[in-house]
Amino acid sequence: MIVAMHMSDGLVNVPTALAFGVVAALALAVALTRARADLDDRTAPMAGLVTAFVFAVQMINFPILPGASGHLLGGALVAILVGPWVGSVAIAIVLIVQSLLFADGGITALGMNIVNMAVLGVFIGYLVARGLRGLAVRGRGGLLATAFLAAFASTVVASLGFVAEYAIGGAAGAPLGTVFGLMVGLHALIGIGEGIITAATVGAVAAVRPDLVYLLRGTQRPPVLKPGAGSAAEGSAR
């Protein structure tokens, strides 16, 4: 299976492509400023490594059915793990590098790809996760459900971004209803896979280093030394 999300050149006309390029540049500028506030002087190395992680994750194949596999888009995943600002910077840089060095995604479609995946995908994922934060902090099941819904919404809304761009400046004579049905139907299926993998991944990180999960920041109770446990340990040491 191939994830049909990297838009190629020629899908929309030049003015639309350029306008979305400007929107993407502005969004990236805001995200960079806020990412710096999230990570202070560690911004460059931390964001660099998170970006490398996103790049590597997109190369890992997950089984779907025998003979078919897909990869993670990672928008909701990075939003939950490192927050929306660092997350969207990371995804945007991955898209820029893929477009310039790997011919993946058209050069003129780069703005739209950034708006769809780095802005819409990451922020919708984060907003859904943030809205369900009460559920997420309640326990492991709640966190997994939150991550699943965030990733599903993020994938579907990112494809709606494509439909909107196509409605504004679509260069082909396809009826909008067909494009809408095709893209949203396809991405609802992809979103289920994305949701399952995102939930399992977030669960794995939260089990080991819950302090690294951006969504859970400030909700961790400091570890308490239980009187009973302490004496038991002493007892066994003797």
Partner: protein, 254 residues
Amino acid sequence: MGAGHAHPLYLPRTSAVHGLPAEVKVVAAFLGVVCVVATPREAFAVFGGYLLLLALIWSIARIPPGWLSRRALIETPFVVLAVLLPITGPDPRIDWLGLSVSEPGLLGAWNILVKGTLGVLTSLTLAATTPLPELLLGLQRLRAPALVTTIATLMLRYVDVIVAEARRMRLARIARGHDPRFLWQVGATARGVGSLFIRSYERGERVHLAMLSRGWTGELPQLAERVTTRRDWLRGLAPVAVAAALACTGWVIA
């Protein structure tokens, strides 16, 4: 960045195209694709002209066309949309190869296919002739925000390390009998991605400390001295001028 950091699409050669500064090539590729996208879809012959122009650049850069065509398959996803257009498109319908297809739909499919293919071929030409450090330098010279080029530099420097780590984790799972085939068996792989994140994040913390201990000030030093001359720009933008002329021709004849 030291040697050995070539990306998979780079074809090492010594040619006039390889020798051009990266920022000239990025701007030329972008403007070239803008010309292609702006060409009306009915100007069929003009798209052949673009292909000839690219072929000329490939012969100067000594890139074999077979190498390009194998890698051009990357744009396949949107071919699906292009195939559906003639079937689902609006009237009038025409008979073509025994099938009743929509004429505007067929034109739309042609439009997506030809422009997408020329776009991918242009991007491949840029990638094949531009090594990593050059591209980062080019982005720096195009006044991309310093933070973006710094993050991209660090990302490209460590991506091989992280990918290799992911490969070792996969090998370790397979060695222990892991053979997932269905989506509901992704648990182990996803937990692997979880630990990959933790390892990447912790590596980031170590890299930051290592950078600080080596005098990191927050800015990457400019390592290359070479200045881009007016002559570089003229040579790099010459194909763009041809492409612009082709686009104008397209508007006149369509």
